[in-house]
Symmetry: C2
Subunit: 327 residues, 2 copies
């Protein structure tokens, strides 16, 4: 029997960052994290289990993927097969609607959509927490793209309780993420390799130990819709992660000169009354989180900065969901 | 009786940085540091104690200084008067041969020269260690501009043993500092205020705790003239200090976009065979430490970078010394 399902999931932008694993194979993080889903950007993935298939296949944006990319998908499907007791191979097709190579991390959306489509296709009906745990095995931050809106991934004590849950739905606070793309061609060190370097920084342990404080402030700022508190903690947290990266051995310098220009500009815009705050993932692009009424002005300001190639826009959105079969 | 003396001292560039005091008024540092004196750049200072003077005066580059600048010099002269049991006021005149406002920290050279000229004028003949301790009271890093060549400032247990000494004379290794000036107009947060913010970073304690490791590596690299080891540790240490600065509250972002361009370029030049390494003090200018045979190539490479306004050059040099009265 051919079994198929399609799911859609968005990337997320971390407000309190995940950097460094305590168990790399289970992707158990050293610290909890908080993020916002980015509606408007998404991966849409169809998984088709077919008894006739001799092996898994993976097609991304209409291009067949082989080698390590296919291997990572296939290993993830093994988790799903092991949950369901099946050995059937699958064809996976996925489309991202955001520009590949624009420095927007795609693995979170990809593995969240794959977790949901794959389990639905094979007939499993997992809880949100179980789906989040499963997605985590593919990419740590994918655990946060399962629940909707503002999401916290608790570090947990082990595989069982290391999953994400919603702090507030998207409607709670329709924040906008104006993503200033400053680097699209350049491929920096991937997150998986980067996480493995975290403990080579003399600062990582201190960053991790300080995380509960930052989680508390960020969580409360979201619940209170307190933009000033949110702005200060997300900029601080972003700099803490990059501090660890730049002091790893070898050092990881993800920032480009234009990133720094923006990191100096944004707090200045905030002093001038705009509700905007910066945060950078493992890349050079600057995510400018802003209140909806300020998004147009922020976007215009970003476009004027030399080195900004384009500005993408996303709003706080839902978690992963199943897409009904097309008529 | 009019008593006068003239001394000259150079700024120094820290290889292992001083950031944060455990006692701000005595300028007792939280961690030891290592630096190189920069011959070619200097402050030349004359102190004249004159019983007829009603108050201290201070002239810098032919401009009379009043307010906080004079107050800081006058407070420093009080230390010298208290050592000698004198109450005589002094006229201080000082000349820097390096461009003021080019972001080259001048206080180290200024207080080292002032300590030596002032004590000599008043008839004190202090040991190098005592002079270094005295200079420290004016500006922490001034303690390192008293001894010659490569210098270590031991954190010490208190005022008595917190002073600097020479690790190796300048002739040991004639390293060159090509200073890429990327910012001259902009006045960032001064060091004194910056030091006070160090403990507001969750990373400062970890940076300080890790310092003995870095001091050991740096000291050994100097003694062995091991450029690769020196390059890695000074770049790592520079990033550690700026990591603390950028994660202080409020955050201190001393880097300019061109600083980051250079921080990415220099390790690349090193991979291509040039002996060059970057380090940044509390400012945007990039000090590129290089082997003498590479200095011309490094300087040319720096001049080609957009945003580099000028390149100053200094070589490893002597500590503070008295200048004989002119005939």
């Amino acid at each position: 029997m051919i079994q198929s399902a399609t799911a859609q999931a968005s990337p997320n932008i971390a407000f309190i960052k995940y950097w460094g694993n305590r168990d790399a194979s289970l992707r158990l993080p050293q610290n909890g994290s908080i993020s916002m889903n980015l509606a408007g950007l998404h991966a849409k993935t169809t998984v088709t289990f077919d008894p006739e298939l001799q092996s898994d296949s993976f097609t991304l944006n209409q291009r067949p993927i082989h080698g390590p990319g296919l291997q990572r998908v296939s290993s993830f499907l093994d988790h799903i097969r092991s949950l369901s007791g099946s050995a059937t191979r699958a064809a996976v097709t996925s489309e991202n609607n955001f520009p590949t190579g624009a420095g927007i991390a795609s693995s979170a959306a990809a593995f969240a959509a794959l977790a949901l489509a794959g389990t639905a296709a094979i007939g499993l009906n997992l809880t949100e927490a179980a789906l989040s745990r499963l997605a985590r095995l593919g990419s740590g931050s994918a655990s946060r793209s399962i629940p909707g809106g503002f999401v916290e991934w608790q570090a947990g004590t082990g595989d069982e309780d290391s999953y994400a849950f919603s702090l507030a739905p998207a409607e709670h606070w329709p924040l906008v993420d104006c993503i200033a793309v400053v680097s699209s061609g350049h491929k920096p060190t991937g997150s998986t390799e980067g996480h493995a370097l975290a403990d080579t920084s003399p600062l990582q342990a201190a960053r991790v130990a300080d995380t509960p404080r930052r989680l508390d402030i960020c969580r409360q700022a979201i619940l209170d819709r307190d933009f000033t508190a949110l702005a200060e903690i997300i900029e601080h947290d972003s700099s803490l992660m990059h501090a660890v990266m730049m002091t790893s051995r070898p050092p990881l310098f993800y920032w480009e000169p234009a990133s720094l220009t923006l990191m100096k500009l944004i707090p200045q815009l905030r002093k001038d009354g705009l509700k905007a705050a910066f945060t950078l993932d493992a890349g050079a692009n600057v995510h400018v989180i802003c209140a909806p009424e300020c998004a147009d002005q922020v976007e215009q300001a970003l476009r004027r900065v030399a080195g900004v190639q384009r500005v993408l826009r996303a709003v706080c959105g839902s978690g992963a969901f199943l897409v009904p079969p097309q008529a």
